[in-house]
């Protein structure tokens, strides 16, 4: 019998703080991988870091305190809500994709706008978040982990720049102290 304790049995539920910390760690991991020319694995981690920053910002803006647990059912419910909402174009705010980076960014915009009228700077910030999420999603998909595709330097640089923008703006995106 293995003496090692089960890691899976000791995972804490997500929270805004934990998601933000994990996003930072994944970016650090990705930077290290990039330095080793492991571009595909780096891109894979950058993408998840963006998803974590965006979902953390959404939950914080929706009133979750930094350490409040965000369980799987709650997350699923909020995503179901986002999928009900339509943009003015008639498209859903969040697509059916289980890791919808752009959908999270739009949902964040919707949530923040629902609370109060945003300042011009805040409008610009959430628009920039949607644009950067789109840039990452141009290259990133969760199924990259099964692939051996060669990632080009300009592709990984584009994703890295966007991922770092999210880390740098994570608190501003939340819209709360």
């Amino acid at each position: 019998m293995s003496q090692a304790k089960s890691l899976a049995d000791h995972l804490s539920p997500d929270s805004v703080n934990r998601l933000q910390r994990a996003a930072e760690q994944r970016v650090e991991d990705a930077n290290w991988l990039m330095a080793q020319n492991r571009f595909l694995a780096a891109l894979y981690f950058f993408g998840y870091s963006v998803e974590m920053v965006l979902s953390a910002a959404y939950f914080r803006s929706a009133g979750f305190s930094p350490n409040m647990p965000i369980d799987r059912d709650t997350r699923q419910r909020r995503m179901a809500k986002a999928r009900q909402l339509m943009m003015t174009t008639g498209q859903p705010l969040m697509e059916g994709d289980p890791h919808p980076l752009v959908g999270w960014a739009r949902f964040l915009e919707w949530q923040r706008s629902a609370l109060r009228e945003l300042t011009a700077r805040e409008v610009q910030l959430v628009k920039e978040a949607i644009r950067n999420a789109g840039l990452v999603y141009k290259h990133w998909r969760p199924e990259l982990r099964y692939k051996t595709t060669q990632v080009m330097p300009d592709q990984i640089q584009e994703v890295r720049r966007a991922a770092i923008w999210f880390i740098e703006h994570r608190d501003d995106l939340c819209g709360r102290e």
Binding site: A62, S65, D73, R83, Q84, L85, M86, G90, P98, H99
Partner: protein, 171 residues
């Protein structure tokens, strides 16, 4: 080439219709549940006094999301500050979106339990009567499903109740 335009199936409701939906929902909140009435879930958020409210109601068919939200929030006017999220869905939408992932189902064989008793018990726990005569008893959280499971085991132990979870696809 032709221009193909999509059309939204949801339309804005009239103020009268909205008031009617709000009144029915308010009544359902305060009184005993009605068979065709809305199914209401108030889900407490941990470390908070807030709740997510989900209303499963086929009357929402064709009603815009913003109107559904407004109907729910108006019906909860007395607790509006405590509502973290209001969500109105039809039964089919709830299934499609995995909003009610935990089902409490009887595992009894035919003849082991009176089907009418089984059906009645499930409906009283919030089960939804389907067109084929079956009842679907579902919950948004495991805790709610476990509580219903416990009550049903006490009430009809020969139902051999079980909880099953529908998991959304994870790529």
């Amino acid at each position: 080439m032709p221009v193909i335009r999509g059309r939204s199936t949801a339309t804005a409701v009239t103020p009268e219709r909205r008031a009617q939906l709000r009144e029915r929902l308010t009544r359902e909140r305060s009184g005993p549940g009605t068979p065709e009435g809305p199914l209401i879930f108030e889900i407490p958020l941990e470390q908070s006094d807030q709740v997510d409210v989900i209303v499963v109601w086929n009357e929402f068919q064709g009603v815009r999301v913003e109107d559904r939200d407004r109907v729910i929030l108006d019906a909860y006017q007395d607790r509006r500050d405590q509502i973290a999220m209001a969500m109105g869905v039809t039964y089919q939408e709830a299934i499609d979106q995995h909003v009610l992932p935990y089902a409490v189902i009887p595992m009894a064989h035919r003849g082991e339990v009176d089907l009418a008793d089984l059906r009645k018990a499930m409906l009283e726990e919030g089960g939804i009567a389907l067109d084929d005569g079956k009842v679907d008893l579902r919950f948004p959280t495991l805790a709610m499903a476990e509580a219903a499971h416990h009550r049903l085991c006490e009430r009809l132990p020969q139902g051999y109740w079980s909880i099953s979870q529908t998991v959304a696809p994870i790529p």
